[in-house]
Amino acid sequence: MNEKLRVGLFVTCLVDLFRPSVGFAAAKLLEDAGCEVLVPVSQTCCGQPAYNSGDRADTREIAEKVITAFEEFDYVVAPSGSCAGMIRKHYPLLFAGDKALEKRAKALAGKTYELVSFLTEVCNVTQVEAQYDGVVTYHDSCSGLRELGIRDQPRELLATVKGLKLSEMKNADVCCGFGGTFSVKYPDISNSIVAEKTATIEDAKPDLLLAGDLGCLLNMAGKLKRQGSNVHVRHVAEVLAGMTDKPPIAESRRDLRGSDG
């Protein structure tokens, strides 16, 4: 008999703050795949805001805490290509030269995965038990795509959701303009990039936009709603887990009933 894989769920700061339901959807998918899901309550953030602002000292301290909190698990899984990429690709670089920590950082990097690729590559999940009646389009978030090679995995699983039809947008692999602190430091440029994105989304005529990173999703949802779009927005985990009972991103029960919020 197989021992259950002990998975530490790194829920990411944005899911923790903005959309807990994505964390619960991730947990359900992992449990359905036969994993035991554990949540270290000392987790805060992977440190990217500091890292990308050039603050290496703080990043290192934050990263060390993540390593300590998560190294006991068989695997670490995050519902985000960006945060998983940070741990996988950048933590080892942060501690280059510091032998003991570098070793621990590398060990953690080696067992850290983005949620959907973990399901398909480690748990060999090939289909999900879920239903969504509608047309969806999928945005490839940059870090997941380019640092971790996540592109086909979510599409493969989405193809097994009953009732779901995928309508690809043009340039699905082009940045949405979020870029973390970029969207706050250069809001005009960020806005121009996301406007380009929402135009390609609308062209695909979907009911629902999906992606694997909440940062990008908040950005695109914010723009779509400002433009008065009817396209709903969710994290891909919500649809794969069949947990679409909560209102979509940037919407409320009131919106769903038809009155504008």
Binding site: A27, V41, S53, D55, G177, F182, N191, D255
Partner: protein, 476 residues
């Protein structure tokens, strides 16, 4: 040096975003270059291996830069050419002027060269009574307009065809005003006609170099219009202006890198003309310059050797990084405020003009990584932009308000108990403020975000607290 407007990046980009003509012109970059590159690469399965090879060749050359430069100089001199070393733009311009004065030059023709932009050669020559004439069509257009290039391989990419027609009408007054200018070909032919006379009249021809080959003492340029050939063969004197990192050991190395250059740049297998020049005209040659000079410019490059920015010296100026950059697509090249735009400019500019002036550029990136994905020389551009941000942080160049926010956040991120408390207060508070709506149209702390986007409201309560309540046995 060209005037520096990089510190005004924010204002520049705001203006660029509102400039309708520019936005129309930029649409061209988005589609054209990207599709053509993708197609040419799809046809070449060994492209990825060629990139590795190109990277390794350049790395090797940079490791032994002094040796190869000396070998190159020796070969040039042995063939009757002259090599001049210039530490900075002042020295480089002085050298050009000396050479021009010795032959009493009135006009010089120029092939496309970013490095002469870097040292602001045209302005300098004009001040000294010598007329520089750009012979690359794009360069010619922006010279007429009194502008600088906005792209390293397509200098006039920010100009629309209609604008060019207008510029030509204004400048070429001897031609019939009702001539047809609807097709790009008409414009090309018109410019050719004008330039032909200039080629013949020029005393000196100045070109850049895509490569300097150490083994043979050869300088190499690639062009699509053939203007470079005329620039360097018709006048009595040919000056090659090249920065020191253009060196490659052998002709074979050059041809290896050529295989990735044009494909990455324009999606062509090869540029139309690849021109090799080795020394002045020999007795048996039918044409060519009587004098052949090479000016080797450092201008801050040697300071990059041995630092985390050394990889940037592999750059072959193909432009692929800017062609694929969402920020470049939005604001165009001029917003970057100096010679080199896009991701390569974001790395190079702080090095060449100082991070205190060029600091915005490496910050104005989403780190989407598309530039690194397409760079034929595998230059880790985002990583180097991050290094610049680190230097800025160390030197306290980040705006103090931003720094305070960041440090407060980092302080909390290191203290889980306080972080938990604070985030629960914030998410609950925001939930209450949202009064049943899913988003904010305005939010005090995120004014810049909500100017043109809504801010989604949190669902309320953090994940970690909810999980703790619902599944206490699955907590660590």
């Amino acid at each position: 040096m060209v005037e520096v407007h990089s510190p005004e990046f924010k204002e520049n980009s705001r203006k660029a975003l509102k400039d309708k003509q520019l936005q129309r012109a930029l649409q061209h970059v988005r589609g054209n270059f990207i599709d053509k590159r993708a197609k040419s690469i799809a046809d070449l399965p060994e492209f990825e291996a060629l990139r590795d090879n190109a990277r390794d060749i350049k790395n090797h050359a940079l490791e032994h830069l002094d040796l190869y430069l000396e070998a190159y100089e020796e070969r040039v001199v042995a063939q009757g050419g002259h090599v001049h070393w210039a530490r900075d733009s002042i020295e480089a311009r002085g050298l050009v002027l000396d050479i021009c004065r010795k032959v009493n030059a009135k006009t010089v023709t120029k092939g496309k060269s970013m490095i002469t932009e870097e040292i602001a050669l045209n302005e300098f020559l004009e001040k000294n009574g010598i007329t520089p004439i750009e012979t690359d069509l794009g360069e010619y257009i922006i010279q007429l307009r009194g502008e600088h290039p906005s792209h390293i391989i397509a200098p006039a990419v920010h100009v629309t065809k209609d604008q060019v027609a207008e510029d030509f009408k204004k400048a070429h007054t001897h031609l019939p005003p009702d001539r047809s200018m609807d097709e790009p070909e008409n414009l090309l032919l018109e410019a050719r006609g004008i330039l032909r006379e200039k080629f013949i009249a020029a005393d000196v021809g100045i070109t850049g170099a895509n490569f300097l080959v150490a083994e043979t003492g050869t300088s190499v340029i690639v062009t699509n219009e053939g203007n470079g050939d005329l620039t360097q063969t018709l006048p009595k004197v040919h000056i090659v202006m090249a920065s020191i990192e253009k060196i490659v050991p052998t002709l074979e190395d050059m041809s290896q890198i050529l295989r990735v250059l044009a494909r990455s740049a324009t999606g062509q297998e090869m540029s139309v003309y690849t021109t090799l020049s080795t020394g002045p005209k020999r007795k048996t040659d039918v044409d060519g310059p009587e004098q052949y000079h090479v000016i080797l410019l450092d201008n801050g490059r040697s300071n990059m050797l041995g630092t985390e920015f050394q990889d940037m010296l592999r750059c072959i100026r193909c432009g692929a990084c800017m062609n694929h950059c969402p920020v470049y697509h939005s604001v165009g090249g001029h917003a970057y405020g100096w010679v080199y735009p896009g991701p390569m400019g974001a790395v190079l500019t702080p090095q060449l003009i100082g991070v205190d002036k060029g600091g915005h550029l490496p910050n104005a990136s989403t780190f989407c990584g598309r530039c690194e994905e397409v760079c034929p020389m595998r230059i880790p551009l985002p990583k180097m932009m991050r290094h610049w941000r680190e230097r800025e942080f160390e030197r306290h160049l980040m705006p103090s308000g931003q720094r305070r926010y960041l440090q407060l956040w980092a302080w909390m991120a290191k203290r889980p108990a306080i972080y938990r408390l604070a985030t629960n207060v914030v998410t609950t508070g925001m939930r209450i403020l949202a009064i049943g709506r899913g988003r904010f149209k305005k939010f005090l702390m995120a004014g810049s975000w909500t100017a043109e986007r809504d801010l989604p409201a949190p669902q309320g309560g953090t994940f970690v607290s909810q999980w703790k309540r619902q599944r206490p046995e699955q907590v660590r």
